[in-house]
């Protein structure tokens, strides 16, 4: 790794034009270029960056995949999918210009010669397109392909660059399936790329509202004194979706909701909510604080897992009035599947700030609505003045998706001669206040990787600590005896009663979404 490449001299002509770090010219090599991720997310994101003028002109994209096809065929397929999935309409002249920088490289992932020819092709691209030897390798392939790809990249010398250039690798989730596999994957990656070169993507962190959590907490002095065990009664994090498993059964059957959502997205959100203020906004300062949160999560015994974690699977039911089948009846799902599609957890962060504050998390498929929200429930005000126990708490809600925004529930007097107090909601909607559409998470994250800004990517220790927390739960669920029960809930409900009981025994209830 060349430190100079990571902290380039500032361009004096950029001063005042943009506050974000500037992406560098580079060749982006996508492994798994014919897959869904490339078509639905990566290429539309890169096209949108180009259309908005945020992509440096000297950026080329090389799709690496097995199926034989020409550059033009590849471009044609990408154009079709980009027209379908791009957040803004595709303009012919911009697409034509953008497509000139897109190439296809056909090779088996295990074929050494394919990487040697890739190296040659990238050298040519450097000469013809000014990509200056900078390489960004995007792993959009299945995780079991990572090892051969990495091994061959190294053998072809593509993990190293000449002075002043850089090579980086972006790795998609799932990043391992447990601590052992995550460590193994890290070992494999680090055989070829250093930690500074490795960008583990979690698209939740690229969302505008997730980034706004830091601004909300650290740019508004009013919240800082309240953000602790003295004033916070509980925190709830919900990630609900109406969709079922769809076409992902092959992956989901092995993963389940805990690995698919909690280990990465939800724990990342929790870190942003619970972390201490970082010393600065550099990637490592922020990630240092985030990892402390995961490290402080209370680990449970087998017995405790049965009481603190609820797992469930959707049975047949209805979504928006439409009947839907149960998980076990879905295509490619084992009819006796024990895979959880819903998880609810009661967590504790054993540190000074959060001691004894329960964190309730739930994630599930086929729930009544799709919404990802974090709510901070503040403690009750003393009831002495109004001769009334105020039933509702002050709640600060951070809506991650959809309808991104923030709301605060406060108490107000109902107009009239009597002294009636009712909760009212102050509501901020991104879409209302800022008309401009937010960029897609992948746009932000791709730009950051090109700029060498790893702030919104997970670091090795974050990932491994998260697995260290998740593993005992998975082990308990897959043990031979005393296995915690798998509950069932009708599709279209808010999960099993056991999830409600998790809070009810603390005298609390899930927030109504």
């Amino acid at each position: 790794m060349n430190p100079a490449a990571d902290q380039p001299e500032p361009n004096p002509l950029r001063e005042g034009l943009s506050t974000r770090s500037v992406p560098q010219p580079c060749a982006i090599v996508i492994f798994g270029a014919t897959g869904d991720l490339t078509h639905r997310k990566l290429i539309p994101a890169l096209y949108n960056l180009a259309a908005d003028g945020d992509l440096p002109p000297a950026v080329t994209i090389v799709g690496f995949a097995r199926r034989p096809k020409t550059d033009d065929e590849f471009r044609g397929e990408l154009e079709e999918s980009t027209r379908q999935f791009s957040r803004q309409a595709v303009r012919d002249e911009i697409w034509k210009n953008f497509a000139q920088s897109v190439f296809y490289h056909q090779s088996e992932f295990e074929d050494e010669a394919g990487y040697k020819s890739l190296a040659k092709r990238l050298d040519e691209i450097d000469k013809n397109h000014g990509t200056r030897g900078n390489r960004l390798f995007y792993f959009a392939a299945a995780p079991d392909q990572f090892e051969p790809i990495l091994k061959h990249l190294k053998a072809a010398g593509l993990n190293e660059t000449c002075k002043g250039s850089w090579a980086r690798v972006i790795v998609e989730k799932p990043f391992g399936s447990d601590l052992t596999s995550a460590r193994e994957l890290n070992r494999i990656i680090h055989n070829s790329f250093s930690e500074e070169q490795t960008y583990r993507i979690d698209h939740f962190l690229g969302k505008e509202t997730a980034q706004n959590i830091l601004v909300l907490r650290f740019a508004n002095a009013i919240f800082a004194p309240l953000w602790n065990t003295h004033y916070v009664d509980q925190v709830q994090i919900t990630a609900a979706e109406t969709l079922g498993v769809g076409t992902r059964a092959g992956y989901y059957e092995d993963a389940g909701a805990l690995r698919d959502m909690v280990q990465n997205h939800l724990l990342q959100l929790l870190c942003l909510v619970a972390m201490e203020p970082p010393t600065d906004l550099s990637a490592d300062s922020i990630r240092d604080e985030k990892v402390k949160v995961v490290r402080s999560l209370r680990h449970w015994s087998r017995k405790e897992i049965a009481t603190e974690v609820v797992r469930a699977q959707y049975a047949k039911g209805a979504i928006n009035g439409e009947p839907v089948v149960g998980y076990r009846q879905e295509k490619n799902v084992n009819p006796d599947s024990q895979t959880e599609t819903f998880v609810a957890l009661r967590l504790f962060i054993d540190n000074w700030r959060w001691a004894d504050v329960p964190i309730y998390m739930r994630v599930g498929k086929r729930l009544p609505k799709s919404a990802t929200e974090i709510s901070i429930h503040f403690k009750k005000a003393p009831a002495v003045l109004f001769n009334k126990d105020l039933r509702d708490l002050n709640v600060l809600v951070i809506r991650i998706q959809p309808d991104e925004g923030i709301s605060l529930r406060i108490h107000a007097k109902v107009p009239g001669t009597s002294f009636r107090i009712e909760p009212v909601k102050m509501d901020f909607h991104y879409g209302t206040s800022f008309g401009k559409a937010s960029p897609e998470a992948y746009e932000r994250l791709l730009l950051d990787a090109m700029s060498g800004d790893a702030t919104l990517f997970a670091r090795r220790d974050e990932v491994e600590q998260a697995w260290a927390f998740i593993d005992p739960i998975e082990e308990a669920w897959h043990a031979k005896k005393d296995v915690p029960e798998l509950f069932f809930y009708p599709a279209g409900s808010w999960g099993p009663e056991a999830a409600d009981d998790l809070l009810a025994r603390d005298g609390r209830a899930w927030r109504r979404l």
Partner: protein
Amino acid sequence: MPATAEAFSLGLPVEVSKIDQELKKLWQESQGATRASLVNLAVYSEDTGSLNRNTQLMAKMTENHACRAIVIEADCKGKENRVDAWISAHCHVSGAASKQVCSEQISFLLKGSCTTLLPSIVFSHLDSDLPFYLWWQEEFREPMDPQLWTWVDRVIYDSQRWEDFRAQMGLLESAEQEANQRIVLCDLNWTRLDNVRFALAQFFDHPASHHNFAKINKLRIDFAPGYRSTAVLFAGWLAAQLNWQGEKTDVPNKLSFVSPSGSKIDIELRERAGEPIGEVAMATPDVEFLVAHAKCGDLLEISRGKPGEKRMPQLMPAGKNDPVSLMSAELMRGGPHHVYLHAVNRVRDLL
């Protein structure tokens, strides 16, 4: 982009003393609409008919910038002394939230000596706790009312229309001093340069290209009739950022600068019909950096290469030169405009 659902003209005529009550009534009647406001945006003009014209601009601008709009037309020479006021709302369906989002507008027509009431009228109708942006569509003139300027957070103007840049800038700087440097000066003539600056800047993002700065010896800027000041401002930007010092020249439309290493940079300003800045060609002895408007209109074609060599141009957004686009670009940004002030200082005498 959200679609405009409804746009009022001047709206409901109201008594000045009852504006707040009438606004309250307006919102009570419009059930289901959300009032949004991020800034107070006052626009001042002395052109006859500007109330209608600016109301139309506000209807467009509020699609992306929710604000309390205060639109003022002043007829300073009017014989009658009177103030007329209207209230209205610009409502749009927000694509993101699928809700009807409305910005309110208060319009004033000031006549005769009532034009001196401007500060009092503005202060009485600001939405509390929100910043105050003043879009001044006239030339500035003495006396600059200190009472008004101490309240302004950002003053927006277009120096392209100014006949005497030095005098106008002098007045603004006095106002800025009165306001203890709090006002941010926002020149739409500078905003007009954003995309071309951005396009030229990106050639030098890689440190390996920085050696070219010291070799620049020629610059050509094509500008449309009426936009010479825009071209000079562009030259001022390069001079300020690359630390070039100006030299006197007697040739019209030629500027000359000296780089920190003592080499000379000749700048040619060419008037050509088309976009305000139609093309910029910056050259070293080895390479030319070219930013030009593409034929399709709203895109820039950028390329680098040896003169005469075949190039592979890339496209970038060009931005538009209409008031709504320029104001939207200006409203999207925050913070001070230090780079603008540095650029102005390099070419103040040439503007």
